[in-house]
Symmetry: C2
Subunit: 150 residues, 2 copies
C-alpha cells in the first residue's frame, strides 16, 4: 500500500532496519569518493586520531538512504527531496559495525502553491550495535497527497 502525505503524523516513528558494513566496502567507497588516508589506508588510519579505518561520512549517509528507501520511501508517493538540514557525524562508523536507522516525523505540511503535494520532514538517527548515535539529520521530502486540496 502506497503511503501519501495524509498517512503521516508528527511524532510517528519508523524503525527502518539495519545494515552491516565491511572494511572492503568502506575502502571501496572512499577510494571512489573520499580518498583520505583514514578512510582508505589501514596503516595510516591506525596512526590517525581515529585509530583505524573509519567510513567516509558520505558512505554513512548513503547507507542510511538505503535503509530509508527499503523501509519507507520505497512505499511512499515521493517526488524527490529538496535537501537535508543539520547533518551531524557524531561517531565514526567502523568495519563490521551494524547501522540501524530510526526516522521520526517532525513535520507534515501541505504545499501552499501545489495542491497535489506537501512537505514531509523526517528527523533521522542511525545507531551502531552499541546503541550509540553515529549520524543524525533532518530530511525534507516532497510527498503526493492522496486527494488534491480543493
Amino acid at each position: 500500500m502506497t503511503l501519501y502525505l495524509e498517512d503521516f503524523t508528527v511524532s510517528q516513528r519508523f524503525e527502518l532496519g539495519e545494515i552491516t558494513v565491511s572494511e572492503a566496502e568502506i575502502i571501496a567507497f572512499a577510494r571512489q569518493f573520499d580518498p583520505q588516508p583514514f578512510h582508505i589506508d589501514p596503516s595510516a588510519a591506525a596512526q590517525s586520531p581515529f585509530g583505524g579505518v573509519v567510513a567516509s561520512g558520505w558512505h554513512t549517509a548513503a547507507l542510511c538512504m538505503r535503509l530509508l528507501v527499503d523501509g519507507l520511501v520505497g512505499r511512499t508517493a515521493t517526488l524527490g527531496s529538496p535537501g537535508i538540514d543539520t547533518l551531524r557525524w557524531l561517531r565514526p562508523l567502523r568495519p563490521g559495525d551494524t547501522l540501524h536507522l530510526r526516522a521520526v516525523v517532525s513535520g507534515v505540511r501541505p504545499s501552499e502553491s501545489k495542491p497535489d503535494r506537501g512537505v514531509l520532514t523526517l528527523h533521522m538517527e542511525a545507531y551502531n550495535q552499541h546503541s550509540e548515535v553515529v549520524i543524525s539529520m533532518e530530511g525534507v521530502n516532497f510527498v503526493r497527497r492522496a486527494q488534491a486540496a480543493p
Copy 2:
C-alpha cells in the same frame, strides 16, 4: 605544502576542478544506496517528473566530496568533519553532466577548548556545464593550527 587553519581567510575562494558522471555510474551508485525508480530505471525515469534518469542526491554530494578532497582537503591538515548544514539539491544531475565545485571560506575560528585546532567553514556550490547550481551546502571541518595557541 600543507595548509593549516592560519592559511584560510573568510571570503577566500577555491575553484575545485570538475568531474563528469555517466548513466552507468548513476545507476550503479543508486542500485547500491538509493534504488528509487527515477535513479535506476530509464523507462520508469522517463515517466517520472524528472523526465529521465537523475543521480541520487547522495551521489551528487559524494562527487563533490571527491572534488573537495582532490583539490583542497587532501593538502589540508584536517581532523575530520562534524557535519554539514543546509544541504540543497537545486537541480538534477543527469547522465553526461559535468559538475564543477566552488568553495568559499565562510568561517575560520580557533577552538576554545583545544589549542591545536580550529573550525573551518566552507560554503560549497557545484555547477553543471550550463553554469546552473546543482547542489549547495555548508561544510564544517576541524583543521590543525600551524602553531598551537599559548
